[in-house]
Symmetry: C2
Subunit: 439 residues, 2 copies
Amino acid sequence: MPHKQVVIIGGGFGGLTVAQSLRDADVLLIDRTNHHLFQPLLYQVATCALSPGDIAWPLRTIFRRHPHVRVVMDEVLSIDCVAHLVQLRDSRPIAFDVLIVAPGSRHSYFGHDAWEQSAPGLKTLADAVSLREKILLAFEEAERRRIATGTGDRLTFVIVGGGPTGVELAGALAEIGRKAMGPDFPNLRLDDLAILLVEGGSRILPGFTPDLSAKAVTALEHKGVTIKLNSPVSEILADGLVIGREFVRSTNVIWAAGNRASPLLTSLGVPQDGSGRIMVQRDLTIPGEPWIFVIGDAAHCADAGGNPLPGVAPVAVQQGSYVARLIREETAPDQRRPFVYADRGMLATIGRAQAVAQMGRLRLSGLPAWLLWCVVHIFLLIEFRSRVRVMAEWIWYYLTFKPGAKIIYMQTRQTSEAERTHRHAPRGLTRRDDSVQKD
Amino acid sequence: MPHKQVVIIGGGFGGLTVAQSLRDADVLLIDRTNHHLFQPLLYQVATCALSPGDIAWPLRTIFRRHPHVRVVMDEVLSIDCVAHLVQLRDSRPIAFDVLIVAPGSRHSYFGHDAWEQSAPGLKTLADAVSLREKILLAFEEAERRRIATGTGDRLTFVIVGGGPTGVELAGALAEIGRKAMGPDFPNLRLDDLAILLVEGGSRILPGFTPDLSAKAVTALEHKGVTIKLNSPVSEILADGLVIGREFVRSTNVIWAAGNRASPLLTSLGVPQDGSGRIMVQRDLTIPGEPWIFVIGDAAHCADAGGNPLPGVAPVAVQQGSYVARLIREETAPDQRRPFVYADRGMLATIGRAQAVAQMGRLRLSGLPAWLLWCVVHIFLLIEFRSRVRVMAEWIWYYLTFKPGAKIIYMQTRQTSEAERTHRHAPRGLTRRDDSVQKD
């Protein structure tokens, strides 16, 4: 498709796949961030096993040797389907001939946006670093409280949502708490720590078969995680949350329960499902626009059984390849075969040497599933260097239980600002005068 | 010194050395952050060559196998020299028998605190990550402007202060701009970028000999840095700064000019110098308190010529060792030999294969000095794993000019917060209605 302007919104798995498959077309890739994020490993940044730079690659670096792919770091405010224009926050509007809409999703609080303050979710690197610091600071505070009072409350983490993210976070937190953090916080005892995984439905990992869900429950409970099923959360406050009819005191609630597609999608003006996803045609276009595609977490694309495909990387990647081929071959709308997702299986890790995997009729759990998980994720990582590095981190972590990424620095800045204020504050001066007088 | 409580304020080079030398005493190490920071490499985080986790180690991890050393993450508000108590922000006061005060310094704006907003400095990991994002965003914005207008202003970085930090930042920025960033931003031309290094005095690197200063000037100018000597800065505003009598337009000003010791020191109630450092006795104690030591950047400790020792890591480390020995051997005040700094030399790096070194009568510049710099810094890094990792990063960077740490994520969160607001904002709704009506 020469001389046509292809615009891609979003540098996630879907958008990146399209851009990489159309390297010789005139492609403009717009992302709000400057990097592609390997989201499946985000929970490892949040739980101190990896550093942010290990799972993110600058988009400009990825396309450095492909001059036809231009990268713009900007935020898309709206899409004008009639004029075929994309409105940006910081740049002038961009005209397109072909548009791929792949802005992804954020976590959703089912209408309770205020809950985010007390129960942050995990979608971006900023979320992950912020959550990591929250977790580390919670341990610091528990240690201080234990030294001060000798007793102190339990340190309770509550993870809301029993899908893969919730399960992975719960397993990783249990390991940090019970093994890696133990020697670091000598005043905390094992039973000071409680980890609750709360699920509104009747089982965790509902996308997997019931026997694998049961195996995940056993593995998590063995690690010390308490699992509450059929337990919808009805309120989240600063000091705790209401689970079913019970109030659980916790200042460390993590949200892994729901997604909502990007609000940008409403500007397309076509039907959306209850999660804000666009009801795409069978060729992933929107009605009446054969060259506007919606893919990834933003698309509601039904499988053979009529259920929407899950919001996972393989779906986005396959949709990206499918769309790129239609564009490369300039396939006319009536010539297109519908998109079909080839489900190669699902994996969820529960912790060190523990995972569940489901591939066609094959079911794996325990160490074999975990090894499979490692191999798959290592080889999915884009860049050779990061592959080696992440592998080294994991081997190191496996051998030593010594997370290499337990640094708090965002909080540091807040404190130093507090200190600068303090320099001029009456309290500081009073204390100074005190000591001068006494001296 | 059994049964005595040693309290150390600050886990920098000085405080860490004391704690490591007194592993069997009853030591309490207090730091505002949870990590020891290898500050000499901080500019490499700010300029995308290293990641935060590469140059920081959790203090708890360092002392994991030393149960006598307890770590508390807290902020010291004041020191009571009479009651021998340390007041903390989040914990109860702590009594000490022996106190080591090593809280370090912040950058100082010589009374113009408002300048910090426009000209951030570089002391903490938060500073470095924030500066890194500022630099990367400046390139992104210049690229967008160039695409939009075809012309656009020059992208001007101004570094205020010609000491080692300023020189290192200027050299690293020039390399990012001219080599590594070039292929990433195809619309920016080489002469779109200007880097100014501004020094109020008559030469850069004033701690080195004049011939090495001159070599540093040549090397920096060769990289494209413009150096302005005898050019005091009299005003810094949001859109530029006044250098001498000239107004230079720049929204990217970096402060590397002055330090001020921690404001905590005033609570000691003893004489301080103009930079807020404590005028210590010859055994690094404060007057009248033989077991209260002040070391590192917080101490004004004169050398044989009467000049204060520089605020560098080797001074802090040697002072830490000296103090630890006095404590271990319980040396009475009248038995103490004064602290003498053994100057093993100075190093400053200017960029890839470029440095200056001064060791006794030996003067090195260019590649030999840079290799020496690499070896010294690699071996000073505490932990074996980080050594290997930083070495790998450097080799990678040297071979590829491909900085592995060009991720913007703090800014991402701001944007996504803006977006969440936008979801409910009139502008968003209007645009949505627009497109719905047109459709």
